[in-house]
Amino acid sequence: VGRTIDIARTVGAIDESLVEKLGIIQGLNFPAERLPAITQRLRDLHALAADLDELDLDEVAPASTFDPSWDEDARA
């Protein structure tokens, strides 16, 4: 049941070097002095989201909706 993620290992893998590289990929260039705080915040989010890793979600659809209908202007 659920994913077998070792959250301590996941959170532990998040270091300043990784955060700096992910930031570059995202177009966010973090000044070096900001890296410790950003890294800690990202660790915190992963730790909080660990409650979701225990779940078996294979049969569950995401709670997102998409309405394919067109509005009146586009239809005309």
């Binding site: 705080a37 950003i38 989201a49 779940l55 569950v60």
Partner: protein, 461 residues
């Protein structure tokens, strides 16, 4: 000191309708209260007294010709500064929007209130882009050295202080309910999607809701009807005044009482006893998925917020306040698969609470609103008896966020005061679209308990 601005909306509306109180008199009274309290409260970012009085005069003239628009006719209100108010900039308490020009039109809910005769005194303080619970520089009317909660902190403080009769709030993770609890007023978060959010600066599209903060449950229900544009087919006040005898109410225990200031736990338990004395059947219930609902809500809130501000956080990060900047920078790196997983977990949260309501035939569940009362502005933590502390941004939203994930309607109602004289709040949570039922329960409790009659000391000082 009891002035017209201390009236409930229901009482003020009755007097206005019967010509016993004029909109101008009520607006002048509210503006006088603003003048008295604002030096300490800082609940407003902008006040336009001339425009408000001009509007009140127009509404007074309408009454003289026999036109009465309904319960909001001539009622002074504050508009949270993430809502567009025509002719006024929407600055969202952020330097990012320091140069924003005047809004060209009202947000939909604001337009509805304007058409219903509301008088807008000005714009109330929000946490930057509604992303947090501090609402600096606004302060708490029960103790101005403390915060008013948030993110609708200025709205909550102004309603408690009597400088508005009701105000606009938005709730993505608890931003109506938390300031309601922290300021000792009522906050009504409607079912997700019930009120049009157009013209309101987004925080998280799939969680954002719009609703009122007001002095009483009946007041809040009437304002919600207007915000939502409901007519005869739907009325949040439809069951107000009906007995709650025989209704089944679950007192949510695990998760909601796990880490809490003891006086809050006692107050909510006492409120449950009051509901029992009114004839409701109150039973202890557990919702094991509450933790999942909170985590899903947290992740969705944080990740969607990053996309809202994607351009600005890359172009001008230095214009954000440090707290929001850090949040956007770090959460932008969260993986997309984690976001989808949170959306899936949201479905589980919804199913599980629906199953709980159905299996136990519940009309509502109740829970504490906030894990702590108003924190000092110079110490933004909540302390617990075991010596631990928790930052307010977590302590104030931990118990509210689960119901943003499920999308249920919730009314937050005062349920007591701690030993420092600070307000405590309780959530009454209903089935989707059952605003009328939760307002019935919360109103019955409110009238029996009478906490709404207390006024904060800032009014007398």
């Amino acid at each position: 000191m009891s002035e017209p601005c201390d009236l409930s909306l229901v009482d003020a509306a009755k007097l206005i309708a019967s010509r016993g109180l004029s909109p101008v008199e009520l607006t002048q009274s509210a503006l006088k209260r603003v003048e008295h309290t604002e030096p300490k409260l800082h609940a407003f970012v902008a006040i336009d007294a001339d425009r408000a009085l001009a509007s009140a005069k127009t509404l007074e003239a309408e009454l003289a010709t026999g036109t009465h628009r309904g319960p909001l006719h001539g009622i002074p209100m504050g508009v949270k500064d993430i809502f567009d108010l025509e002719g006024v900039p929407t600055r969202c308490n952020s330097c990012v929007r320091a140069d924003a020009g005047p809004a060209s039109r009202d947000a939909k809910s604001v337009a509805n209130a304007r058409a219903a005769g509301a008088v807008f005194l000005g714009k109330t303080v929000t946490q930057e882009f509604a992303a947090g619970v501090i609402s600096d520089p606004a302060r708490n009317p029960w103790d101005p050295s403390r915060i008013p909660g948030g993110s609708s902190g200025g709205s909550g403080a102004s309603v408690a202080a009597g400088s508005t009769i009701a105000s606009f709030g938005s709730d993505t993770g608890g931003s109506i309910r938390n300031p309601a609890a922290i300021n000792g007023v009522v906050g009504l978060k409607p079912t997700f999607g019930a009120v049009d959010t157009s013209g309101v600066y987004p925080l998280s599209w799939s969680l954002d809701t719009v609703g009122p903060l007001a002095r009483t449950v009946h007041d809040a229900a009437l304002v919600l009807n207007v915000f939502a544009g409901w007519g005869d087919d739907r009325d949040a006040a439809a069951e107000i005044g009906q007995s709650i005898a025989g209704l089944r109410i679950g007192l949510l225990r695990s998760f909601f009482f796990d880490r809490l200031q003891p006086e809050i736990a006692s107050a909510v338990e006492a409120a449950a006893s009051t509901l029992t004395s009114l004839g409701a059947e109150v039973i202890d219930v557990d919702w094991p998925e509450a933790r999942i609902a909170r985590a899903a809500s947290f992740v969705i809130n944080r990740v969607e917020g990053c996309e809202v501000h994607a351009e600005a956080i890359r172009a001008t990060p230095e214009l954000f306040g440090e707290e929001l900047r850090l949040r956007l920078e770090s959460n932008s790196l969260y993986p997309a698969t984690g976001f989808i997983r949170a959306q899936k977990a949201r479905g589980i949260a919804k199913r599980s609470i629906a199953e709980l309501f159905t299996r136990l035939r519940l009309d509502a569940v109740i829970a504490p609103t906030s894990a702590g009362t108003a924190a000092p502005a110079n110490d933004l933590t909540v302390a617990y008896p075991d010596g631990s502390t928790e930052p307010v941004n977590l302590a104030y939203t931990r118990l509210t966020m689960p119901f943003n994930a499920t999308g249920q309607p919730v009314v937050a109602v005062p349920c007591g005061f701690d030993s420092l004289g600070l307000p405590i709040g309780m959530q009454v949570v209903g089935r989707p679209h059952a605003e009328a039922r939760i307002c019935r329960i919360a109103h019955a409790y409110e009238q029996a308990a009478g906490w709404f009659r207390r006024r904060p000391p800032i009014i007398e000082s």
